[in-house]
Symmetry: C3
């Protein structure tokens, strides 16, 4: 039998003991769990960025993988803690929209509110639910605890940045993530555009300039020129050939991006 996989995503960084604390708790409960870091360098409290990073890679993991994601500005308040089961795997974290982009891709999922304290660490710290609630619940699920036992069915928060606003001849999206190279990823996918017209029929406006077409690869265009392309996970992204689109065009998470049909 394959060892269960648990991925970890957070804004904890790797200069403190926070991530290791979660891993220690997991290995105490599920000693054969295989731990894979997705990222712990999510900008502090940037739920949107965590949602994007998780959405870009969770489908690469085998079915049944448990994904633990803790970007949790509301820790210590009344925000709910949830687990979601999809056809791809399990998702454990705060109910703040962090799984919005994953759930937009999935069908047939079920969410539950984490209320079964028997699955938690005891005592629960008021400020570190990653270690005391999310990690032990993730480890429990990885070990085979029945999903129904984590708590009652609920409906998770879905935040507005999780979908673009689509019209017949235009789509308004926004930047949801800046990657290491300064590429600016939008919340608009190839499918969003294709629903209204073929990829070749769209241009876009970003940071005061117009980008006339959406390419399928890097490596064309003069150095320093801006281009738009379908990123490796299907979201449209804005890049600058051998440079940073974020700094060259002044883009940041939340910047609105307008896609326009050029054939209408």
């Amino acid at each position: 039998l394959a060892e269960p996989i648990i991925t970890l995503t957070s804004d904890f960084g790797l200069s403190d003991g926070y991530v290791a604390s979660m891993k220690g708790v997991i290995l105490g409960i599920a000693p054969d769990a295989r731990l894979v870091d997705i990222s712990h360098d999510i900008p502090p409290q940037e739920v949107r960025s965590a949602a994007f990073v998780l959405a870009t890679c969770y489908e690469c993991f085998p079915a049944g993988t448990v994904h633990l994601a803790v970007v949790d500005p509301g820790v210590g308040t009344e925000r709910r803690a949830i687990a979601v089961r999809t056809r791809s795997g399990f998702f454990i974290g705060p109910d703040n929209g962090i799984f919005s982009l994953v759930l937009a891709k999935e069908t047939g999922w079920e969410a539950r509110s984490l209320e079964n304290e028997d699955l938690w660490r005891n005592p629960v710290s008021a400020i570190f639910h990653g270690r005391d609630i999310f990690a032990p619940v993730a480890a429990g699920i990885a070990r085979g605890v029945a999903f129904e036992l984590v708590g009652p069915v609920c409906f998770p928060a879905v935040l507005e940045w999780s979908s673009p606003i689509a019209g017949r001849a235009e789509v308004e999206g926004e930047i949801i993530h800046i990657d290491r190279f300064g590429n600016c990823i939008t919340n608009v996918t190839k499918e969003h555009l294709n629903a209204a017209g073929p990829l070749e029929s769209w241009c876009l406006r970003a940071g005061g300039i117009e980008i006339p077409s959406i390419l399928e690869t890097y490596g064309r265009g003069a150095p320093g020129s801006a281009l738009a392309l379908v990123g490796s996970s299907g979201y449209i992204e804005i890049a600058v050939n051998q440079g940073s689109a974020a700094s060259r065009l002044g883009l940041h998470p939340g910047t609105k991006i307008l896609f326009l049909r050029i054939d209408i």
Copy 2:
């Protein structure tokens, strides 16, 4: 039988091959070891910070875990190399106080000086004992080499920053670590204060201001206001609501912090 766990803590960073070299050596000796990074972003040569990070998370790991910690300004000099066995696990590293905060929490431990060269790599580089001495000894212990074989019993260095100075109505501590969010962690625990008076009876002075009370959670107080709270691992820390306490109050490792009884 569960696979042995080895954690790694260092100031090597992750842009070079140093950490991977240690892992390769470990897996050559103990192929079934489960490797967990605690942090490799300890500020260069900051033994105090490594001691703190390790102390905050080692108790989350299963008993018997082997903790390898290499922040080693004295490599190539006469400083001793040690291994310590506690009820929680094993600790392998240079004898420079890096395990001081762990040992302050443990009872019934035994330390030994690493002198059995049969357990080392051959030859031993003068400048990379992490790869050539600490990693192979950690892997040996993980594989079940008897602890007594690593070398003779010794008494490890205990550095002065490892304990606050406690009086009847005041406790003088210092900042020992700044976390990713700018929270400033002191070497004073809830237990240090409780020994003289209940948590509610203390205030503290830091960076020219007085913080009137010590809370049990974040999330109260106006944005930008300073507060003190019991951190997730028991040490008192100074935070600024939605900001960095380190930059706002000018605190850094070594800054003295005075705790005062307000009821006396």
Copy 3:
């Protein structure tokens, strides 16, 4: 039987989902693979730095280890993808010289061009061969796919920075990597110098100063003074006692370094 080890080296950083995507793909094909990060903080597109980091640590891993290295400025162009089998293990990546320093240390290796699409993900993205070609081929080899099946024999690119220019009384090398501490590593090894004369007979010129000798360890010399020493992996490096040689001497990757015999 020991679980197969796959190491990963890239310039993807750890703030995005790129590395996790490769790991998910690997675990889907080779569920028992043991994944070890070497570094994902290679400066963007710095093939030279990746080549160095890999060369410093691959020999620490058990024979048969699979090393995946993706620093790939040419992705989407005609550059070849290769796998190399050596006595130490397997190396999978783009054919841009990334394995040059490894192959300079190895004898009896064989390289093959990745052309067997049955071993790839389907479809293959134009911009993320790490996930779609290199990761699945590495996982296949780790699972025991015959090396011959990856594609036909080829001869890999060897780049000029991979070897110094050696004369009878001088050797011209260059800086190929700056480590976390600002130490500047050259492409010149102890063996390169020994071939012409003993280590004690060499001095070197770097950043406008002359360093009169090459030491075997740190820890001598006044704070702030520059020194040259044999690094932990055999390459000569330039360090500044308790400081950064890169910033103090103005050295960067590509800076020429001249080694001179002082006894001639």
